[in-house]
């Protein structure tokens, strides 16, 4: 008998008789009056992210042009923001991605209760991109904010692609004496543009 | 209403004044109180040490002593909890009757007697130690870990006492470190936990530390005395029995 059979066999002998699976019936009625955009901004800023509301993307385009002129390695993955960096593909190696100063990525949805944004693999182009860049900018449609994780999981299909992530704020650690330090291994900053 | 007074073994031996106060208080509140003379102990010291198997004799004796009263009342939340959770016998009817009808003193006064005012008078600054078994086990007061409305049966009663200024330590319901035989098997941590409770009460400049469990108070008293502190411990029954 191999380990698989041994383990599954032991479970079938040792498990208790079947207990019913509960229905998730969380009512967010108590918070219906809350403005989810405000809540999203407040929460994300409390965990170290920055949020800017924009009615036009022109400002972002300008920002990208200026940074490029300064010689920064800026990666843009959104065609609406101008030229897209086609060199970023799923197999690009870490050693090449490592020099990216700032990356612009589109987010799918934002979650008000925790300030996170869902990113599909096709939105990040390379799984390392949102982690390895020094600074991360996410563009999110302001109408794509949901109140909580229950609704978030109804909206995204986590198994649609090989990888996806709820990303909430810049990389951080408090492993030294519980002192919060922003910029552990991932991006040192996160800016979310909420675009209406 | 016939109340059987259950006085835990160490209270009988070391703190008879708490037992006397409990008895007098219950009588003052109109109860007919009996103290069955053959009672000994609930068996908790053995059970918490892993020897619940040895507590059968205690259980039998407990049932023989308390099987015939309307309520069993005790000035010790911890012992009451033990009986509520672990008293068993071949005669389960009697055991389950006792398990349902045993009360810690303050919950008995609040929930059964439904007392709404007291004549007690204790013009002192008093810090309340919330004992874990009474709180988390018997639900005598709300717990800091849970998202639930706040309440406290012991504080409800203490707030009726004339002249008494009640305070809570910063960490309102952290354990004092007594923990039964933990107090000797884990001496270093036990004492440290007790010292930390005392430090927080001292910040509130209390004259007394009170609570619903003599065991916690005995532990805190031992540390206070060793420190040469002027702060005294007093069981809640002794305060409620003042006039």
């Amino acid at each position: 008998m191999n380990s698989r059979e041994k383990i599954l066999g032991a479970i079938s002998i040792n498990k208790p008789s079947l207990i019913e699976l509960p229905v998730i019936d969380i009512k967010s009625t108590s918070s219906l009056s809350v403005d989810w955009v405000d809540e999203f901004i407040k929460t994300l800023e409390s965990i170290g992210g920055k949020v800017v509301q924009l009615s036009s993307i022109d400002l972002i385009k300008l920002e990208i042009q200026e940074a490029k002129l300064r010689g920064e390695y800026i990666v843009n993955t959104l065609p609406v923001l101008g030229e897209v960096n086609n060199e970023i593909n799923p197999t690009m190696e870490a050693s090449l991605l490592e020099s990216i100063d700032r990356a612009y990525i589109e987010g799918s949805i934002g979650v008000a209760e925790n300030g996170s944004v869902w990113l599909y693999e096709n939105q990040i182009k390379n799984r390392l991109l949102p982690f390895i860049c020094q600074h991360l900018v996410i563009c999110l449609n302001i109408n794509k904010i949901v109140p909580n994780m229950h609704e978030a999981y109804q909206q995204v299909d986590v198994a649609k692609e090989g990888y996806g992530v709820f990303l909430a704020g810049p990389s951080k650690t408090a492993d030294i004496e519980q002192s919060l330090v922003i910029g552990a291994h991932g991006a040192r900053s996160l800016l979310v543009y909420l675009i209406s | 209403m016939k109340v059987g007074l259950f006085i835990p073994c160490y209270v009988d031996q070391f703190y008879p004044k708490v037992a006397v106060a409990t008895l007098e208080l219950l009588e003052k509140l109109g109860c007919e109180v009996v103290f069955p003379l053959n009672q000994t102990c609930c068996g908790q010291p053995m059970a918490n040490s892993g020897f619940a198997s040895l507590s059968e004799g205690c259980d039998k004796n407990f049932i023989a002593n308390f099987g015939e009263v309307d309520y069993v009342v005790s000035p010790s939340g911890s012992c009451v909890l033990h009986v509520k959770e672990h008293l068993h016998d071949q005669n389960e009817t009697k055991a389950s009757y006792i398990r349902r009808n045993i009360y810690e003193l303050t919950e008995f006064i609040v929930d059964v007697l439904k007392v709404e005012n007291m004549v007690a008078n204790f013009p002192h600054k008093v810090g309340m130690h919330i004992s874990c078994h009474g709180q988390r086990g018997l639900n005598l007061s709300s717990m800091s870990e849970l998202s639930a409305p706040s309440f406290s049966k012991p504080a409800y009663l203490l707030n009726m006492v004339k002249g008494l200024q009640l305070s809570l330590p910063k960490r309102v319901d952290e354990c004092c470190g007594f923990g039964g035989t933990f107090c000797v098997f884990e001496e270093a941590v036990s004492v440290k936990m007790g010292k930390d409770r005392i430090t927080e009460h001292a910040i509130n400049e209390v004259e007394y530390i009170t609570g619903v469990d003599v065991s916690c108070l005995m532990h805190l008293e031992g540390i206070l005395k060793r420190q040469g502190s002027s702060v005294k411990t007093i069981h809640i029954a002794e305060i409620l029995n003042t006039h």
Binding site: I132, G164, F166, H185, G186 | H133
Partner: protein, 471 residues
């Protein structure tokens, strides 16, 4: 009685190698200032947790859901594991099964050798700590670089983690500074956490880029989709997994959840309970290897099926490793994780570890006052303190106790079962003084008296008073 025998009889639980929890805790408490610091640092985390959970009006409902979903899952675990395996394989993930720690480690060594891997990075995985993977691979010439900051710190110091979420919480910034000065060449005496973290970032970026194989843990594995979720704040699991050509994820059999919708419940519970954050910075959902990558999952038993067969203790397998019970435990905060001498310390460790080795861990269920705070903070409502009590009964029944304790308890039980003897004992002298180990007013013999005064023996017992005044 000479003190040595006395101590042997009463205070040192039977235990394998090393110090018992109480002995280690006594050493820990010798530096009271540091004990205070440790206690306050962890209490701060507990306070952050309180603040976060009180912002969620449905918190207690979420805990109930989390608990019920896990209860259900355990009752159908074999079916869900098989479903997970099938779906994960269809996603292109290779599944391995390991009956114990040894087999788990062998599987990883096999992958390393087969693929001729030189550089291995690992993000935090308590399961690999439980399996002592690093030691196993080091003995075979393979160095694993831990990439979580706290884990890297303790790895440099050759220490195990002292906390499952905050591995280096027992260390002060001065200690970290010295360690980094020695290993990374940081400025001597520069204790700034920002500076030290930056040094680790630079050091580990290089390791991520060069690594060929990344090991991660698994927070949740979804049966219906064959994917898994890994949660970190630093981003180290992602940096490792996405940079390396091989990703190996180790999971205990209990990490399964039935469906994606259940992630909504657990991700809401996990970070709030752990650190008071609304969610970890990164909650990464892996379903397929990336182009050109290999992805392996090792499903590990290592005693879990045995625990599943213990009705009193099986719910310990619901644990999602948030460590809220550590942070709230007044004993953990004042004894430090290393006093528990196991990979998973704290209250949850004290109910998990006796299952793995009763003899070596017989002391752990006694390292508690049974105050119950652990059960109240647990996001999946494990009745930890009740299980601590129950483990005590099992350990005594199985003979893992000292002869002295047994004699004392038997003596106590005999007196307490016989009212007439109890009364006589009371008259002769306060019998408790003789049955409890409070015996002597001597600091070296009597642990009560070491730092506490004895209660004063009154003139008469209550019983005597009652007979005189009421009868």
């Amino acid at each position: 009685m000479n003190p040595k025998n006395f101590n042997r009889l009463f205070f040192v639980p039977i235990q394998g190698a090393g110090l018992s929890h109480s002995a280690a805790a006594e050493i820990f408490n010798k530096d009271e200032e540091r004990t205070d610091w440790h206690d306050e640092t962890l209490w701060f985390v507990r306070e952050k947790r309180d603040k976060a959970v009180k912002q969620i009006s449905e918190w207690e409902q979420l805990r109930t859901l989390g608990s019920d979903i896990k209860d259900h899952t355990l009752s159908n675990l074999d079916i869900y594991l098989a479903e997970f395996e099938k779906n994960a394989q269809a996603n292109g993930i290779k599944i391995h099964w390991a009956i114990d720690a040894e087999e788990h480690n062998e599987i990883i060594l096999g992958i390393i050798r087969e693929q001729k891997v030189q550089q291995v990075v690992k993000s935090k995985s308590m399961l690999t700590e439980e399996c002592h993977l690093n030691d196993y691979l080091a003995q075979r010439g393979i160095d694993v670089i831990d990439t979580d900051l706290g884990e890297r710190i303790v790895q440099f110091r050759n220490e195990p983690p002292s906390h499952i979420v905050l591995p280096a919480i027992h260390l002060k910034k001065q200690d970290v500074s010295e360690t980094f000065h020695e290993h990374l060449g940081t400025e001597k005496g520069n204790n700034d956490p920002q500076y030290l973290t930056e040094a680790a970032r630079q050091h580990l970026r290089d390791k991520f880029i060069k690594s060929q194989l990344a090991i991660t843990g698994v927070n949740f594995a979804i049966a219906s989709t064959g994917g898994f979720v890994v949660c970190t704040n630093e981003g180290n699991a992602d940096m490792g997994a996405h940079a390396a050509k091989i990703h190996v994820a180790s999971m205990g059999i209990e990490k399964i959840i039935p469906k994606v919708e259940h992630l909504g419940v657990f991700l809401r519970l996990l970070a709030r309970s752990a650190t008071g954050q609304p969610i970890t910075t990164y909650s990464s959902h892996f379903h397929q290897p990336r182009v050109g990558q290999q992805m392996h999952i090792i499903i590990v038993d290592n005693g879990r099926t045995k625990q599943l067969g213990r009705p009193d203790f099986r719910s310990s397998l619901k644990c999602i490793r948030c460590a809220a019970c550590f942070n709230t435990c007044p004993v953990y905060r004042r004894s430090g994780g290393h006093s528990y001498h196991t990979a998973v310390a704290g209250p949850i460790g004290s109910i998990l570890n006796p299952n793995l080795d009763m003899k070596a861990n017989a002391d752990l269920p006694f390292a508690s006052t049974l105050c119950g705070s652990c059960s109240n903070v647990c996001p999946v409502k494990i009745d930890i303190h009740v299980q601590l009590y129950k483990w005590r009964q099992v350990l005594v029944a199985e003979g893992f106790t000292t002869g002295g304790k047994k004699v004392a308890m038997k003596g106590m039980a005999f007196v307490l079962s016989h009212p007439s003897i109890y009364r006589i004992s009371g008259k002769i002298g306060r019998w408790i003084m003789r049955v409890f180990p409070f015996i002597f007013n001597n600091k070296s013999f009597n642990p009560w008296y070491k730092q506490r005064e004895m209660p004063e023996a009154p003139e008469q017992s209550f019983r005597d008073w009652y007979k005189k005044n009421k009868k």
